[in-house]
């Protein structure tokens, strides 16, 4: 179990060597975040991390999950230190790749995108109250459709759920430096979008710098639109509020897709109930067998 409060004190965060220097891009895989990463990396004083660190989905989250043993007993990190101390030590550990990268470059700010980080956006926000968080949103129907097509292995339901959970988590965050923008808007008019975003991130740059960054976005080919199918229909049904929030056109799924989506969700709900029921019956049976065996051996 994680600490009940994930927020590292701003004062403690101030001890960090990368205090106020990080920009995290939070986007579900397949949202086009790599384009924004490259664009921001061209800004004077900024550098884009050339590879994802995966430090939250493969590091920080597992540490924080060991804060308390919960029902398993007192075995946990909470015996060693208070929550703020754990958050501070974890922040120091997470800082290491960013600190090393900044030392290798002459940059003052670093931009990073790890596709899995959005799933742990609350941990990113909690450990880095001083960082800038940019949520990049692409139409969830497109994202879910792509993530449930080869070579990706997610089912339509999983892919839709991923996009919905990701966006909901980021929207629930209270963070002083959180920004969101739509991929479609960025690609349509990168100059206008970047002209608004870049100063908000704390960069003081001229129009030429914006134009260079916009050119990086514009130079990439447009993202193709695919048939959204069942995955898209699930997003429309379950994540309608999100599509509305981000101002996407609604009710685009055709009737057969909606029927298939409802069928998918109904079956998966029944399977989950069945699994839970089966596990419970098996547990009771095992307990009974042990009791009988014990009684017989006595």
């Amino acid at each position: 179990m994680r600490p009940p409060e994930l927020a590292l004190d701003e004062g403690a965060a101030g001890e960090s060597a990368v205090y106020g220097r990080l920009i995290f891009l939070l986007a579900t895989a397949g949202s086009g975040a790599e384009r924004l990463l490259r664009a921001l990396g061209t800004l004077p004083g900024a550098a884009a991390m050339p590879a994802p660190t995966h430090i939250f989905e493969c590091g920080v989250d597992w540490i924080l999950e060991h804060w308390d043993g919960g029902e398993r007993g007192p075995a946990a990190l909470s015996g060693l230190a208070d929550a703020q101390s754990l958050l501070l030590e974890t922040r120091r550990l997470a800082d290491a790749p960013y600190e090393a990268f900044l030392a290798q470059t002459s940059a003052d700010r670093v931009v990073e995108y790890s596709p899995g980080h959005i799933r742990f956006a609350d941990e990113v926000a909690g450990l880095y109250p001083d960082a800038c968080l940019i949520q990049l949103v692409r139409d969830g129907r497109q994202v879910a459709a792509r993530q449930s097509s080869p070579p990706h292995e997610s089912s339509p339901r999983e892919a839709a759920k991923r996009w919905i959970d990701d966006q909901r988590l980021v929207l629930s965050l209270e963070h002083p430096h959180r920004y969101d923008l739509r991929t479609e808007d960025l690609l349509r008019d990168p100059v206008r979008l970047l002209s608004a975003l870049v100063p908000a991130l704390g960069f003081e740059v001229d129009d030429d710098a914006i134009a260079r960054a916009a050119a990086v976005v514009g130079a990439a080919p447009a993202l193709p639109t695919v048939a959204t199918g069942r995955a898209g229909a699930i997003v429309e049904i379950v994540g309608a509020d999100l599509l509305h929030h981000f101002d996407y056109e609604m009710n685009t799924a055709r009737l057969p897709e909606r029927v298939a989506a409802w069928g998918d969700m109904a079956i998966s709900a029944n399977v989950e109930v069945g699994h839970r029921l089966g596990a419970d019956v098996a547990r009771r049976l095992r307990r009974r067998v042990r009791k009988v065996r014990g009684a017989r051996s006595r």
Binding site: H54, C58, H66, A75, A81, E89
Partner: protein
């Protein structure tokens, strides 16, 4: 020359107590804590007189970072840090938390003792972070360990599972033994026979002065009932005979080789 991955405040002063569950590792920890220089997370008094172990599982918490450190896709931590640097960062993390625990529980202590049962399976990670540590392995008759585990609240599903767990950790220890530069193995049954002598021997090996005062404290602590999880019967070896015959046979099937190897039964 420094043996630790960086200038650690605990260089050469971390003790890992290793052993399967229900082999007396918590009790040994209690004995070693009699020394004023040694600190760890204390046992938890869940009710008067009942002390349950409190394990940090810190090495388990670092497993994902360790996995990240071995990313072979030119991503993750190795894309930005050398392996030695990653190890140093992880050690700093542990030392930082150990230091906070020391400051809370025994500020004058200079040594930290870490004990979590599954640490044996994590020895490649532990020895990378703490090549300068001292490792003490507690070994107990596997049949007694299995019986005790099956009587505890964290009993596995079957006796076979419990025996397999005991065997698996011994297999792991054998596999990773070459990584342990400072290693001692102690028998639970011998500790039980003379806990003061066992502790004194370990203090001497660790280079810690075992004064009369310390040994008296060991004697007092040896009487504490730790990690019994509600059991009330007498403490002692040989209680495996209470297991039903078919379960004893099952344990022998699975753990027989190790029981012979460790001298708990004859090969015949």
């Amino acid at each position: 020359m420094s043996e630790a991955p960086y200038a650690s405040p605990f260089e050469g002063r971390v003790i890992f107590v290793l052993g399967s569950r229900r082999t007396g590792t918590t009790w040994l920890q209690e004995l070693l804590l009699a020394h004023p220089a040694v600190v760890t997370v204390p046992t938890v008094e869940v009710e008067p007189g009942r002390l349950d172990p409190s394990e940090t599982v810190i090495m388990g918490a670092l497993e994902a970072v360790w996995l990240n450190a071995h990313n072979a896709d030119s991503e993750g931590l190795p894309a930005f840090l050398e392996h030695d640097e990653i190890v140093a960062v992880m050690r700093r993390f542990c030392d930082g938390l150990f230091a906070r625990a020391r400051d809370t529980y025994k500020p004058s202590a200079e040594w930290f003792l870490e004990k979590s049962p599954s640490n044996i399976a994590r020895l490649p990670l532990i020895t990378s972070l703490y090549p300068d540590a001292w490792f003490i392995h507690v070994v107990r008759d596997g049949r007694d360990a299995v019986r005790s585990l099956m009587d505890s609240p964290m009993a596995p599903r079957t006796v076979a599972d419990a025996a397999a767990e005991w065997v698996a950790l011994l297999d792991d220890l054998q596999r990773y033994r070459h990584l342990l530069r400072r290693f001692r193995q102690v028998r639970y049954e011998a500790m039980l026979g003379d806990p003061v002598a066992a502790a004194a021997d370990l203090f001497q090996w660790l280079g810690l002065a075992g004064s009369d005062e310390v040994l008296q404290a060991v004697e007092e602590r040896s009487k504490r009932q730790v990690a019994r999880f509600g059991a009330t019967g007498p403490i002692g070896p040989g209680k495996w005979m209470q297991l039903p015959a078919h379960e004893r046979a099952r344990v022998l099937d699975i753990a027989g080789d190790w029981l012979v190897e460790l001298g708990y039964i004859d090969a015949g």
